[in-house]
Amino acid sequence: MSRLKLFIPVIVFMVMAVMLWRGLYLDPRTLPSVLIDKPLPDFELPRVEDEALISKADLPDEPFLLNVWGSYCLPCLQENPILMAAKEAGVVPIVGVNYKDKLNLARLWMDDNGSPFDFSIMDADGRLGINLGVYGAPETFIVDGNGVIRYKHIGVIDYKTWDEEIMPALAAVRAEATL
């Protein structure tokens, strides 16, 4: 019996080793959103395009993408073509949140690269971003017709992400809306 007790360390260790092995394939960095199925936070902010004040009521009544971007953000530049293509094809309305940026720089960026957004909300001090649980651009939300957040993607959107993640999620949200 005593001899068996000496086997406890090796068993405990093996269990730990298996846990560590599994842990290697987890990603500890992307923070999942806690705002899923919660309504968008209220806000009253100017638009980048014309500085007119807008609020939640001015957002689209159908499912749309809310894209957090900045003129300083390189990945935002990388995902711009994909969002532009989506806009051309009229796939889904895209509303931008210009996060912690300067008005003139944002406008310049949109002029240079094209704007895939119906309009962009100017969040100069990052308050809206905090209420959205944002921690860095780019981040993209799928919001349904009732202003409820249904999905969040952190990081750049490439073609693969668009096809395999965004589109299916969007389809699911749309399917619910018609029920």
Partner: protein, 169 residues
């Protein structure tokens, strides 16, 4: 003689190290610190701010608190905490604010929930287990008889010889 020389050498070495540590601290050092310019009305407010800034995690950094991160969302969150403190919000309200937006990830002190019971009570469990092991060992250790505790004859002789040696030195 050799013993004391070695000791003296070590003593000097350690003194040098000590001085080094103390002196080295006096030169200007580059730092990664973030400095806010928040002015508080009371020391208590400053203390609360520092405490919360230490206990919340920066969402975008590599495992640093809000205190230890400069720029970005960390700066904004510290600003929010400051405004909430000045606004008279309680610690609980501020924690709720953070929780609603960033989830449990932002708490360096994990909340006590069903999922974290093992975390918070694990160490106590280990301690109890440890105590049980010790009592087991003590119980099973063969008790010493009076004969075993007292020095036996051979040991008595050796002790005498050693003491004689010491007296002679």
């Amino acid at each position: 003689m050799r013993r004391s020389v070695a000791l003296v050498r070590l003593y000097c070495l350690s003194l040098l190290l000590v001085l080094g540590a103390v002196v080295a601290g006096a030169l200007p050092q580059p730092t990664l610190a973030a400095v806010d310019a928040f002015e508080f009305e009371t020391d208590e407010q400053q203390r609360r701010f520092r405490q919360m800034s230490d206990d919340f995690r920066c969402p975008m950094c590599q495992n640093t608190s809000l205190t230890g991160s400069s720029g970005g969302v960390a700066e904004d969150l510290r600003r929010e905490i400051y405004l909430m403190i000045m606004d008279g919000k309680t610690d609980y309200e501020i924690e709720q604010f953070m929780l609603e937006r960033y989830g449990d990830f932002i708490f360096y002190r994990p909340r006590l929930t069903l999922e974290t019971v093992l975390l918070w009570f694990g160490p106590l469990l280990f301690l109890v287990l440890g105590g049980w092991i010790i009592f087991g060992i003590i119980r099973r250790a063969q008790p010493m008889t009076q004969e075993q505790v007292a020095l036996n004859d051979e040991e008595q002789q050796r002790l005498k010889a050693l003491l004689d040696n010491v007296k002679r030195d």
